[in-house]
């Protein structure tokens, strides 16, 4: 069966020079597709080609079974709305007027707004929770408010598909969440298909039905966020040499301090994270243990240290781990006790502390 969006062997680029070729994907109506990838990879180029701001250099895009290059400008405007990154400079224009511009493809020669148009404007403003901004001057808005109003303008165009280029750029975390929630609701309730680019991979994973990884001359991966996570590493996509991206939490760790461990951190249960990060900031290499592999501490520790003593989840720690940890500990001039709780399965950590006391290695409970 024909899918709603069908991108067939599309080549995109500027000035006749192909940047990315052989883009193939299908998407159903009412789903969210997000393009992720490093800066300059061509996310915007693909979006611009979809929106016909750039000419396709090969292949074709079909929406609802129709080739979009065959649409008239007006037809296109009724099917697709865009939200761009470029800053809009307007003076003495109210937000209601900005949103009403979305009615352009529907109004008459002079742009007179009918009652239906005005209802559409009101609904769009309501949908982005910007009703209180309606009569404010657009120039006086904050970035987050502007973005919501521009989204309302796109919604007001009553398209079947919305293309957004980095809708969360410049926004703080609260407004990022707001915008993405609105998009999710629109996709769910109005069956509007959303194609956008995002820089925040963690948010992209959470909001999207499909991800498209853009890097190099062809598409590197396409699939559901779960599929992408399994088969493809974000570090590879962004060429992360230093630092690390944790797909579980969508969190980023900075580069690990190199060299021989200076401290041994006895941690677990999340007590170690702030110590690890504190040591990373001071560029002090450390060893840590003994951690269960399902521990939050383990997720952070393995990206910040080369010497992590760990044990599989839910199994008691073994002597061999104790020996390894003890060896690392004895090589360090000091030990940090993160204050992690000790239970039946991690008695070894108590033994490590006693060992440190016995050998008169200083034990710190906080980083100075």
């Amino acid at each position: 069966m024909e899918r709603y969006v069908n991108i067939d062997n599309l080549s995109v680029g500027y000035d006749g020079k192909v940047l990315i070729h052989d883009i193939n994907l299908q998407l159903d109506k009412g789903l969210i597709l997000t393009l992720i990838g490093p800066n300059g990879a061509g996310k915007s180029t693909i979006l611009k080609t979809l929106a016909r701001h750039l000419q396709a250099l090969g292949g074709a895009v079909y929406i609802g079974g129709q080739k979009i290059s065959a649409w008239s400008a007006k037809e296109m405007a009724r099917q697709m709305a865009v939200v761009l990154t470029e800053r809009v400079r307007l003076e003495l224009t109210t937000c209601a007027e900005v949103v009403a511009m979305g009615r352009h493809p529907y109004t008459n020669l002079l742009g007179k707004l009918t009652p239906e148009d005005i209802t559409a404007v009101a609904e769009a403003l309501e949908r982005v929770h910007a009703m209180d901004l309606a009569n404010r001057d657009f120039a006086t808005l904050s970035d987050g408010q502007r973005q919501r109003v521009m989204l309302a303008r796109a919604i007001c165009q009553q398209p079947d598909i919305i293309v957004l280029d980095e809708p969360t750029a410049y926004l703080d975390i609260r407004h990022k969440i707001e915008i993405l929630d609105i998009l999710r609701n629109m996709a769910q309730e109005k069956q509007i298909t959303v194609v956008m680019s995002l820089h925040e991979i963690d948010l992209a994973m959470k909001v999207s039905d499909y991800l498209l990884c853009v890097k190099g001359e062809t598409i590197t991966a396409f699939g559901t966020p779960e599929q992408i996570l399994q088969q493809y590493s974000i570090e590879k996509l962004f060429d992360l040499q230093t630092g690390c991206y944790n797909p579980f939490f969508g969190s980023v760790e900075l580069s690990k301090p190199c060299g021989k461990p200076q401290l041994f951190v006895i941690a677990g249960g999340g007590y170690g994270v702030s110590f690890y990060r504190g040591l990373q900031k001071r560029r002090i290499p450390f060893a840590t243990g003994v951690l269960f592999e399902n521990d939050i501490d383990y997720q952070v520790a393995k990206t910040l240290s080369d010497c992590v003593v760990s044990t599989p989840a839910f199994t008691p720690m073994k002597e061999e781990q104790y020996n390894y940890a003890a060896q690392l500990l004895l090589d360090c001039p000091a030990v940090v006790d993160a204050g992690a709780p000790i239970g039946a399965l991690n008695q070894i950590n108590t033994r490590l502390l006693s060992l440190a006391r016995e050998k008169q290695i200083p034990i710190l409970t906080q980083l100075s």
């Binding site: 016909r52 008239s72 307007l90 209601a96 007027e97 005005i118 309606a134």
Partner: protein, 376 residues
């Protein structure tokens, strides 16, 4: 005054306002009143002062015969001529003052619209036909036409002048356009325009220096920059061209509002941006060419008037801005012409001198406050 507000079907939602119609109507009425007052003053005041009662009487007579003449295919032409020739006052009134003030009004409006369209085009509130050197370019081509082509063309009609001015306007607009792609800064565009204007003036001066005295006479009269040479033929042509320009601009209002968001947004709303930009440049050039052809380059009206109008209207809505700008430009020029004519009578000032005195401070004010205007 009743404003056109539309309530929403949703509860607890504020009333949406799409440009304040009440303010617009009020401003229009105010401007119309000012225009009428300006026209009355213009007709009254002069080296021969004619009382308001007389003016009124003569006007009624003139209009009566004029209309009768129109409908009877010239039967009343003689009567109209007699009425005009009856007294020196009526001669002054009908052959000098009325055409002059009408021309001032129409061309003032045209110049302002031309400036407004350029501001839309360059997305720059300090663009105007004079400021970007376009008027000087028109003058240059007109000058060249008068000096070098007069002998081949024989008698130079006002249409030829307009055509020459139009070519000059288009030429310089294209030059400025080429430069504008390389500069992002609003003030830089203005500087380039002024420089281009100087180059055009230099070329014009160069031509004058090496031209015959006979040809220069034509030119200096014309390039004085004043409405003093106005006659009814000029008025007819100017009115036709300017009304066309006004209508064309009004029809573009919808696209202008979308274009304000930026080129890509405009495109995504179904506007043929290339065609729209071409139309803007053509209308703007026709209007400024018409002004330059009849009155020479007039400075600062194109920038100052749209700014005043925007401040009065408190909205940028093009559908309101266009008629209000036209009217405001008419008022501005009628009063400036009145001053030019009367302040140092019998010596007449250039109209550009007066418009500069009032317009330039406004432009300076806008430049100083441009950070605020950029809305960032």
């Amino acid at each position: 005054m009743k404003t056109k507000n539309t309530t929403l079907p949703l509860d607890n939602s504020p009333v949406l306002r799409f440009g304040n119609t009440g303010v617009f109507l009020m401003v229009m009425v105010l401007l119309l009143a000012c225009l009428l007052m300006g026209l009355m003053l213009n007709v009254n005041i002069g080296s021969v002062s004619i009382s308001a009662g007389e003016v009124f009487h003569m006007l009624i007579q003139g209009i009566r015969y004029g209309i009768a003449n129109l409908f009877t295919n010239g039967a009343y032409g003689q009567a109209l001529q007699n009425e005009i020739n009856a007294a020196t006052e009526s001669q002054i009134l009908f052959s000098i003052r009325i055409p002059r003030m009408l021309l001032a009004a129409v061309l003032g409006g045209a110049l302002s619209i031309s400036g407004y369209l350029l501001q839309v085009f360059f997305r720059n509130p300090i663009a105007g036909p004079f400021e970007l050197g376009i008027s000087s370019g028109a003058k240059m081509v007109v000058g060249v036409t008068l000096i070098f082509l007069a002998q081949y063309l024989g008698n130079i009609s006002s249409l030829t002048l307009i055509l020459a001015a139009f070519l000059g306007s288009l030429l310089i607009t294209c030059v400025v356009l080429l430069f504008s792609q390389r500069v992002q800064n609003m003030s830089m565009l203005l500087v380039i325009g002024i420089m281009v204007g100087y180059i055009c003036s230099a070329v014009t001066d160069f031509c004058i220096t090496f031209a015959d005295d006979h040809d220069i006479v034509n030119l200096t009269n014309w390039s004085m920059g004043s409405f003093s040479g106005a006659n009814w033929d000029h008025v007819k042509i100017a009115v036709c061209i300017c009304l066309f320009g006004l209508a064309a601009a009004s029809l573009s209002a919808k696209s202008i509002s979308a274009y304000a968001l930026g080129e890509t947004y405009a495109k995504s709303m179904g506007i043929n941006v290339k065609l729209f930009r071409l139309v803007l440049i053509l209308i703007s050039s026709i209007l400024s060419a018409c002004v330059t052809a009849f009155a020479g380059p007039i400075s600062f009206v194109g920038v100052a008037v749209p700014h005043i109008t925007r401040t009065l209207l408190k909205t940028s809505k093009p559908l309101y801005m266009i008629p209000a700008t036209f009217l405001c430009g008419a008022v501005f020029c009628v009063f400036c012409d009145l001053l030019a004519r009367t302040v140092f009578a019998p010596t007449e000032l250039k109209i550009g001198t007066v418009t500069s005195v009032f317009g330039a401070p406004i432009v300076i004010y806008m430049m100083v406050n441009r950070k605020k205007m950029e809305g960032v």
